[in-house]
């Protein structure tokens, strides 16, 4: 084994010789037995590792966990938006209410097909030949009057078959 071949194994050997495979360990031990430079490298690796391992750990600042919890809570809300199962369960009553309201509104707006005669009054003006020349409508309710015209309940003047 040469120094360039030995070097990549030196760090692990310095940390824990037993972590190397048996052949690698045997070759490296044989090499460092006769290579002073590699023995120095191993010592240096251990020294640096020792200093780094002595680095005082960071103290978690107060409020770190609480702040993170708040962000996680907000995150859960947003994640929930993408959860279709949650949507289905949460919005089912709303959807049912909307269907009911739509049905009620539709029923209220069902077109009146026949207008009771007493909702509006009609009278006609005839020409000299006795044929109707104009039809007049009068009602206390503008809606009833409009519906009478739109639904054909009040036939235009001259349309004898309409009423």
């Amino acid at each position: 084994m040469t120094c360039p071949v030995a070097e990549p194994l030196v760090a692990r050997f310095a940390d824990d010789p037993a972590s190397l495979s048996a052949p690698d360990r045997a070759h490296l031990e044989a090499h460092i037995g006769q290579c002073g430079a590699c023995r120095i490298l191993i010592d240096e690796q251990r020294q640096v590792a020792q200093v780094l391992q002595g680095r005082p750990p960071v103290t978690v600042p107060p409020g770190f966990a609480a702040s993170l919890a708040a962000r996680l809570d907000a995150e859960q809300g947003w994640v929930g938006l993408g959860n279709w199962r949650r949507w289905t369960v949460t919005l089912a009553p709303v959807a049912a209410a909307l269907v009911f309201v739509a049905w009620m509104g539709g029923a209220a707006r069902t077109p009146v097909t026949s207008i009771p005669d007493d909702t509006f009054d009609t009278w006609t003006i005839s020409n000299t030949a006795g044929e109707p020349a104009a039809l007049f409508l009068q009602s206390s309710s503008g809606d009833a009057l409009l519906e009478a015209v739109l639904t054909g309940a009040a036939a235009p003047a001259g349309d004898r078959d309409a009423r």
Binding site: A11, L41, Q45, V48, A49, R55, L68, E75
Partner: protein, 186 residues
């Protein structure tokens, strides 16, 4: 055997309580890792929180091929890389002199043997020395010597072969040796 398996399983099923327990277990280690990787960047606390947010989003997809800790550290490393890239682009945009990547000035500062008193100063000196390393060496040596991961765990967290990890750690320590000489004598 991953000691976190039960909590991870519950958290993956949507349990916030289980995830909060995992946060309590690892918040110190994640914060420590981020600070060591970013030389005490002012955004490090925020980055550490972001690690847990990403973990929460992705925990349902976590596969127990590796330990939860290795997976979490992998998230942290990726986040730091992204953060570093964003910072570099900003510096380029505004032509700001990089802090922690000016090797010469950091070499000088880190080897100055004055004012290194107490744990805070010691940590600061180590972090400044770490900041002089290329990112891939810093990641490997921090995971090994600061966080205490095994070589195989580091290979998993970084997604590189074992031999690459060994080589990076070896070279990182060689570069750090003269910078940490003053601390070793204390």
């Amino acid at each position: 055997m991953d000691a976190d398996r039960g909590l991870v399983s519950d958290a993956a099923g949507g349990s916030r309580k289980a995830f909060d327990e995992l946060v309590l277990r690892y918040q110190g280690q994640v914060l420590n890792l981020i600070r060591a990787m970013t030389a005490g960047d002012s955004d490090s606390d925020d980055l550490a929180q972001e690690v847990f947010l990403r973990a929460w989003r992705g925990i349902a997809r976590f596969r127990s091929d590796s330990t939860f800790r290795t997976w979490l550290f992998g998230i942290a490393i990726n986040l730091v890389r992204t953060h570093r890239g964003r910072r570099a682009r900003l510096r380029q945009l505004f032509r700001v002199s990089p802090v922690g990547e000016d090797h010469n000035s950091d070499l000088e500062r880190a080897s100055v043997d004055d004012g290194i008193e107490g744990p805070l100063a010691m940590r600061d000196a180590i972090d400044r020395a770490l900041a002089t390393l290329p990112a891939e060496m810093r990641e490997a040596v921090v995971l090994r010597d600061v966080q205490g991961l095994e070589y195989l765990e580091i290979a998993e967290a970084l997604g590189v072969p074992l031999g690459t990890v060994e080589s990076r750690i070896f070279r990182a320590r060689q570069r750090l040796r003269p910078l940490l000489e003053s601390l070793r004598r204390k």
